[in-house]
Amino acid sequence: MDFDALFSGLDRHTLDGITRGSIYALVALGYTMVYGVMKLINFAHSEVFMVGTWAVLGVYTALGVSAGAGLAVVIGATLLALLAAMLASAGTALAVERIAYRPLRKKGAPPLIFLITGIGCSIVLVEIFGQVFKVFFGAPFGRVTVNIPSVLQTKELFTIPGLDLTITNTRVIIIVGAIVMMLALDTFVNKSRLGRGVRAVAQDPDTASLMGVNRERVIMLVFILGGAMAGVAALLYTIQYDITKFDIGFIIGLKAFTAAVLGGIGNLRGALVGGLLLGIAEVYASTIWSSEWANVTAFVVLVVILMFRPTGLLGESLGKARA
């Protein structure tokens, strides 16, 4: 145990935790929105994220950009990759909804069944990239780790005086990007007409449908929004880690789901709080002990918090997102 290491660089570790947690939080949004409206854990959401990273790779490959391109090219390629990732992830999420959930909803199946089809979809998506595409298209698909060119190269932007904290451009993009996207989503859900529909269905589906809210459309909307957020997370992830692989979704998904529950599943701001808290807790634990205990710490934090706040830190409610 090395508490000195933690406290001597607390600012640095907190920043590391926030960076890690930002991506968790963005993915957690997808879990939380779907849960808020359908009271359903979308187990395939981790793969929605995974598909986004491949879309980024696809755009970079198609454009032929690589590290060291000019600023305009970098910005253009990154934005294009962002768009592609959001579209790919949202499309995947929507497909999952159509194939795996809608038929069950029509049959009025209980939540446990949705869980299994979700897991099934997750396996299918993983195998599509790990096996099916490999057979049909060959490399880069398959069960190997694939490098994504660092189009956006990490550069030191400035140093926070007094704290000796170096801020890089990627860090700024990840943290600011995540927070901006969350605020935008939060505003959308709270202010827009479509968002009101989402909240209405989340609060009381029956009344909402009496008031003329089309539940099916709201469900489609939350899958699209959640998927798009996962797409944003996918781009930020590739900027930070430079890789993708057919099975990267699993662990991120697990963490994001934990983060969503931690903050109060169904609560948008809860996803942010949960994600950041989880990221920070993991980095602290990895610093005090080592990364092999990070996951245990994450789950212990979850259990302890749920014991004192059985519905998560901010409580669950997409309907009352202002909590």
Partner: protein, 383 residues
């Protein structure tokens, strides 16, 4: 009784059908192999390992290598087939496979297990049945040193040697005196890192453990920043090495990066990208050179350059085939032949000591440097 006449009809029909068909004969549950009588030479050799799943890329080249050896083998007397058994690297899936091979007398030898876990889980099965195993890639020390069985052999040195060789490379070749050692907490990476740590002694500055599946290494990076190492060793696999390298270089840590044979594979360069330029992979696998046509033959046969342990797979198969050439016709014969075997292999001089290990002096360690996405042999290191 009328009520259930339909049931009885069904039962009766089934019974009649069953009897009729059983009269026709029973299935050959020995897997379709012929009788292994003394004058007939018709045998099978099993290869067992992760042929599918995330780790298949470390195993498949060795299977191809074995296949190549079989194709190139010339023997009019004997018929040998190579049967491939997929275990996904999972010990639980490996035991039924091992029991199957053990129970089928036409199997005279097994190539594998490819990984240490499945080998640990199956070696007593093979031992009970007297099936000779020669592993192309299982390197855990305990397999031969702590808990040896009669039938287990391997053509790769175990982690202790490898750890020592890596430490030697770090100190002697790189002149490192402050090595930062990272492992992946798994059965492969951790013991190897332990050995490296042990051999390095004071030359190790700090040790950190990470997880398989981890992509964010920020805590490890900040530990590195304060430790200021002059070299970093990582015991683990490619999937984690790639983001670790990228984050190291992003953080401005330019110390040389050295990995164990878990990183050795054709996909290493593609996974690490630019950040991995100059990274070194240590492997107890000699580069194939000289007058051997192995690399060319392999490429002609399988359409790719020989990957990890391809030469070892070839060597293992060659040992078994040599046993048949020598007139071995039973499992006992094969075991006796293999125990006494000595010969030049592609990867090294193959022979086995009483524990089933290749003699230390026959082993060569090579450092491969990642240059432009391919692993180029840099230097041989004697442990």
């Amino acid at each position: 009784m009328i009520r259930s006449s339909k049931t009885w009809q069904a039962v009766a029909l089934t019974a009649v059908a069953g009897l009729a068909l059983s009269a026709c004969g029973t299935t050959d549950t020995d897997g379709g192999g012929g009788d292994a009588s003394a004058d007939e030479c018709n045998f099978k050799i099993g290869v067992m390992g992760a042929l599918s799943g995330a780790n298949a890329s470390i195993v498949l080249p060795s299977v191809d290598g074995a296949e190549l050896a079989l194709t190139q083998w010339e023997n009019d007397e004997c018929e040998v087939t190579l049967e491939k058994f997929d275990t996904e690297g999972d010990p639980a899936k490996a035991t039924p496979v091992a029991t199957q091979i053990a129970g089928d007398e036409t199997f005279i030898g097994v190539i594998g297990g490819a990984f240490s876990g499945e080998t640990r889980a199956t070696k007593s099965i093979y031992n009970d049945a007297g099936v000779t195993m020669i592993s192309q890639s299982a390197t855990a020390t305990d397999l031969t040193q702590e808990d040896p069985v009669e039938v287990f052999h391997r053509v790769v040195p175990y982690d202790d040697y490898q750890g020592a060789a890596i430490a030697k490379y770090l100190t002697d070749e790189l002149g490192a005196s402050q090595v930062f050692v990272v492992d992946n907490s798994e059965a492969y990476g951790e013991p190897l890192a332990d050995r490296v740590e042990e051999t390095l002694g004071d030359a190790m500055v700090q040790r950190d453990k990470t997880e398989v599946g981890q992509t964010d290494f920020a805590p490890t990076i900040s530990k590195m920043e304060s430790a200021e190492p002059d070299a970093v060793f990582y015991g683990g696999y490619i999937a984690e090495a790639a983001p670790l390298l990228k984050q190291m270089r992003d953080a401005g840590i330019d110390a040389p990066f050295i990995g164990g044979d878990g990183l050795y594979g054709a996909d290493f360069g593609n996974a690490v990208g630019d950040a991995g330029e100059g990274a070194v992979v240590m492997c107890p696998c000699a580069p194939i050179e000289g007058d051997s046509t192995f690399a060319a033959d392999y490429e002609a046969e399988f359409g790719a350059a020989p990957g990890a342990y391809a030469a070892e797979g070839y060597d293992v198969m060659s040992v078994f085939l040599a046993a048949l050439d020598d007139g071995a016709r039973t499992r006992e014969d094969v075991e006796a032949f293999v125990d006494g075997y000595s010969g030049e292999g592609l990867s090294k001089t193959i022979a086995f000591d009483e524990n089933g290990d290749v003699p230390q002096d026959a082993v060569s360690y090579w450092a491969y440097k990642n240059e432009g996405g391919t692993l180029v042999p840099e230097v041989e290191v004697a442990p």
